[in-house]
């Protein structure tokens, strides 16, 4: 019980209650021994209970554990990290991939618009997104949700994303929703560790190696644009897109957040986002908001556009419009 070597008040009182000492002290020694045994057993049981944690070092190397935030990495840090990620992908998925880091183009501000008169809900955008962005195949997902809405209402409560029939249906229109790349993104404010931020071209990105997986951003997003990796990613080797960006479509680790990044590994190199390229109806318009000649600016100039949930003040760079 105790190793206190200072005399206790009782012990120092001598004979008055000294007769208690043998009774109290003897069992105390035995009790201390029993406690020590109990503590040892408890610790051993605890070690056994948390033993599944030993799988962490198998998947998380020391380099990964100690890796700094993206914005603090030097070019040589990046080279080393990208090489490590490439070899880890090779090891885990058996595929040679290239991880690049295209930076925002100076003076460019990306905007996106969807013509709701043209979209017919065929879902080609979702499929292209899933392939382009190396989505985990376990659950059928992409960064886009297509809402089937009832004509006569813009209320999403009357919409559904789980329709499974031929499109378009009579009396319905279709509204794809993905990250709105808000000017004032609530997800970025929410993140406790700055693992997500807005880049100079307006794209909100995630450092998948810095995110702690608290999912506060997912609660904060009004557009359901963020997704969590609930389990280790599974993608057939022949379906992996080897052209990968560090902040975009590389295979995301378990336990972290992900979101639409306007295919920055394509768009920052002058190509169109995968969803736009795949759209058979021509409903999607993408471009540089700072370029007066761009398609997106033509839409903003000539169509009456609206944004989702304008009242929240998030100021999306994503617009919707109807023909005529």
């Amino acid at each position: 019980m105790t190793v206190d070597d200072t005399p206790s008040p009782d012990a120092s009182q001598g004979d008055s209650n000294g007769h208690q000492l043998p009774i109290v002290n003897q069992p105390a020694t035995r009790r201390t021994a029993l406690k020590a045994v109990g503590a040892a057993l408890g610790l051993a049981a605890f070690g056994k209970a948390v033993s599944p944690l030993w799988s962490i070092p198998e998947h998380v190397s020391v380099d990964e554990f100690l890796q700094q935030h993206y914005q603090e990495l030097t070019p040589s840090d990046k080279d080393r990290i990208f090489a490590r990620l490439e070899s880890e992908t090779k090891e885990e998925f058996g595929v040679d991939v290239t991880i690049s880091d295209p930076r925002p183009l100076p003076g460019v501000r990306f905007g996106y618009a969807i013509n709701l008169s043209k979209c017919n809900g065929n879902g080609a955008c979702m499929e292209a997104c899933s392939k382009e962005n190396n989505h985990h195949r376990g659950i059928d997902q992409s960064y886009i949700r297509v809402l089937e809405m009832s004509k006569g209402s813009m209320d999403m409560e009357h919409g559904t994303t789980t329709f499974d029939h031929t499109v378009p249906q009579d009396g319905k229109f279709y509204m794809p929703v993905q990250c709105q790349q808000c000017e004032k993104p609530p997800c970025v404010s929410a993140c406790p560790v700055e693992a997500t931020w807005q880049e100079d071209d307006g794209i909100v990105v995630v450092d998948y190696n810095w995110c702690i997986g608290c999912r506060y951003c997912e609660a904060a997003c009004p557009y359901h644009a963020r997704r969590f990796n609930w389990e280790p990613p599974e993608i057939p080797a022949d379906e992996i897109n080897p052209d990968q960006g560090y902040l975009s479509n590389r295979i995301r680790p378990q336990g972290t957040m992900e979101k639409c990044h306007f295919c920055l590994h394509r768009t920052r190199e002058g190509r169109a986002p995968a969803c736009l390229e795949a759209c058979p109806t021509g409903a999607r318009v993408f471009g540089d908001l700072n370029d007066p000649e761009s398609d997106i600016n033509w839409v903003l100039e000539n169509k009456r556009v609206f944004v989702l949930k304008e009242e929240l003040g998030t100021q999306p760079n994503f617009f919707y419009f109807f023909d005529s």
Binding site: P9, P52, L53, G159, H224
Partner: protein, 425 residues
């Protein structure tokens, strides 16, 4: 559980002025004292340890296999863990309702037992922190949250505020409790300048932890169910019910297990506080519900789902009506004159209000924030077995910690009294 006999309390007769030597000695002595007890005590501790281990094992499996083992989804991305977190923060803040009468109103009787409230606060903060840790997808990156070595999004992110205020509250209370017990152990009179400023700081701080926790939710414009200015006041009001009710139960258990006679005053004061706080809580709840249902806008969709079900989905309806019944009956019992006396009615009232508030600000607040989702989809949620195991483990660990703290407190107080008593001739 037996009390340590007076001969068991090994206090140094003379005070040593070297805290570097005597403080570790105090801790070691405290560890010994707080793990002494009878058969009932050891059964209690072993059962709690076993449940904690089950929880630890469930969490380790969750880390290894991914959070897919929970029933959370991208639609309902927070569940039982965050619900329980919210309640535990309230429990911790509620302890301040002993500190205020004791220190601001100089209630002598309350002053003698206020340390029980501080012990409850310490255990509750630890439970709250654990509830957040188990909710992280990447606990291995926890260091990213630590100032200086990590990268903290302060002051913008409400979650960083929460981390700061929760840890601050834990440290303040550990200091107050640790200092007071240490001084009593040494047989010295505590120096007020070493702890009273921290006590007053803890009063403000207690209110801040629950306010910041409410801001975590009500600051999100995309979640209309949470986005109400009433959330923080409601959190505080319900915390000032659940905290004192929990403390009343703890004091009752202490009285039975230790056989120590305590004055009836503090519990009565707490019940008067509960009466007021619960009434305010219910008035605010009614006001909230009126706005949600009478306007009938989309803001009411979550409330409709919660109370009556929506489009055939009724997962939370049994939960919330259980809470409504518990809260109303519990409040009714608290207002009976018998609640001021020691007896079954008081105990029943405390238990009912604790259960009611656990649901109301846990499952009844966090889950409907996600249903319907921001795109108005309805995906339901009920916790998985893993989530229940982990949560039970956290509670068991909290009780384990609380038991050890209370044993230590009782040992110090008993030792002090035995020295204060005149020696037999």
């Amino acid at each position: 559980m037996t009390m340590p006999s007076s001969a068991d309390a090994h206090h140094p007769q003379t005070t040593t002025n070297d805290p570097l030597r005597s403080y570790p000695k105090f801790l070691w002595w405290g560890l010994g004292e707080s793990t002494n007890g009878g058969l009932g005590f050891y059964v209690w501790m072993i059962v709690l340890t076993a449940i904690s281990l089950v929880g630890a094992n469930a969490w380790a499996n969750q880390v290894a296999q991914g959070m897919i083992v929970t029933n959370m989804t991208d639609h309902v991305s927070w569940g039982l863990y965050i619900a329980n977190f919210t309640f535990c923060v309230g429990l911790a803040a509620g302890g301040v309702m002993m500190v205020i009468p004791a220190y601001l109103y100089d209630d002598e009787e309350m002053h003698r037992v206020v340390i029980v409230g501080e012990a409850v606060a310490i255990a509750a903060i630890v439970m709250a922190t654990l509830s957040v840790v188990v909710d992280l997808g990447r606990p291995d990156r926890f260091w990213h949250l630590v100032p200086i070595i990590g990268r903290v999004n302060w002051p913008v992110s409400m979650l960083t505020w929460d981390v700061i205020v929760l840890n601050g509250y834990l440290i303040i209370n550990l200091h107050i409790v640790g200092y007071l017990l240490y001084m009593r152990y040494l047989g010295r009179k505590p120096n007020p300048s070493w702890y009273v400023p921290f006590v007053f700081l803890s009063i403000v701080w207690a209110i801040s932890i629950h306010t910041v926790t409410a801001f975590l939710y009500c600051g999100l414009g995309g979640r209309p169910f949470w986005n109400t200015a009433l959330l923080a006041p409601r959190f505080l009001a319900s915390a000032f019910v659940s905290g004192p009710a929990f403390i009343i139960l703890v004091m009752r258990i202490l009285r039975i297990t230790t056989g120590r006679e305590t004055a009836p005053g503090p519990a009565r004061t707490l019940i008067q506080i509960i009466r007021v706080a619960m009434t305010i809580n219910l008035v605010m709840l009614a006001s909230e519900l009126f706005t949600l249902f009478y306007t009938g806008s989309s803001h009411g969709a979550s409330a409709e789902y919660l109370y009556f079900g929506s489009h055939g989905h009724t997962g939370l309806v049994p939960w919330i009506w259980t809470a409504v019944v518990c809260n109303l009956v519990g409040t009714g019992l608290f207002f009976m004159p018998e609640a001021l006396e020691r007896g079954t009615i008081r105990i029943a009232a405390c238990v009912l209000c604790i259960v009611g508030i656990w649901i109301e600000k846990g499952m009844g607040l966090i889950i409907p924030g996600f249903i319907p989702s921001t795109l108005h989809e309805i995906v339901e949620y009920s916790p998985s077995l893993v989530e229940w195991k982990v949560t039970a483990g956290i509670w068991a660990f909290g009780f384990l910690l609380l038991t050890v703290l209370l044993k230590l407190i009782v040992a110090v107080f008993t030792g002090e009294e035995s020295r204060a008593k005149p020696q037999p001739p």
